[in-house]
Symmetry: C2
Subunit: 180 residues, 2 copies
């Protein structure tokens, strides 16, 4: 197998911010030439396909400033330092929807866009839910709805769910639940 | 329905680079308070689930510098200015795998990580493939393999495919092909 690795020659930190950092690295390519790589450093994150006892999934709508649209997504959020993916999944689900989950199964994990960021997303299926109160972050404004998993899948193909983690999570949950 | 929109108050350009730009905006939140939003500006992109006549999908492995790993992905790439998603899909498929496709169906589109970037990904199913020569970009080093679609789905759940667009695309293709 051909060596595909790229080696770091130097690194310049361009920006250190609230939720992300940016650096530009000079690298040695597999063919011996040099190139530059722009890297957005981001924390790990989780997303949750939350299935209620009457077989509905919880979707949250929120304004996504970078894209200038309200998007319909599955509950999700960044992991706090030292927080495990499981603890973060339960916390974000509770904050955004008010639901607590007694069962949590990992569906998959993925890099959201590995060409320019290290953001890693862990996706869970949450079941055995109990309703409580929402408590979103102070700069977070979300609306919750519940639809059947089948309706959610149809929303993907109708262009009504246009968020990568939500599509990957809902289709994975659909496949997983058909198999078990 | 509650107003979820955030209004731009001011914008500061932090970085303009080769594949991305970074800006930090001051915004007015729905509750009347102010907040800041870090936005990575990125071009639109495409990804292709390419299915050969013997029902195998083409996967490309490449070193992803931001995550420091070789990842197995479906063929993908950034759209050139003025290029349509369809033209880009056929171009990237040809460059990375050597295959030309006579049939192209759009599966879905999504924002890869709308919390901090506007990158929009268009995902296609390509069929009726004809083999030719690869011609990757000069700083792009990829290895191509073909596996059955079912094997590719199993790779997702076994953690051997860990890339959002690939997971969203392969599961969408699987669902789409079962339905038609």
């Amino acid at each position: 197998m051909q060596n595909l690795e790229e080696k770091t020659l130097s690194s310049r930190r361009v920006y250190e911010g609230k939720i992300l950092n940016l650096r530009v690295d000079q690298v040695l390519l597999p063919n011996g030439k040099e190139g530059s790589r722009e890297v957005v450093e981001f924390s790990q994150a989780v997303a949750v396909v939350a299935l209620t006892d009457d077989d509905k999934v919880l979707l949250v709508s929120q304004y996504r400033y970078p894209v200038g649209e309200v998007l319909r997504e599955i509950p999700a959020g960044k992991m706090d330092p030292q927080e495990s993916p499981e603890v973060c999944a339960l916390r974000e689900l509770k904050e955004e929807t008010g639901y607590a989950a007694a069962s949590l199964v990992k569906l998959n994990e993925f890099y959201t866009t590995p060409g320019f960021t290290n953001e890693l997303m862990h996706v869970f299926l949450a079941q055995n839910l109990t309703k409580g109160e929402q408590s979103p972050d102070e700069d977070e404004f979300v609306q919750v709805e519940s639809v059947s998993l089948q309706e959610a899948i149809e929303m993907i193909f109708a262009g009504k769910i246009r968020d990568a983690k939500s599509i990957a999570g809902l289709l994975a949950a659909h496949y997983h639940l058909k198999r078990v």
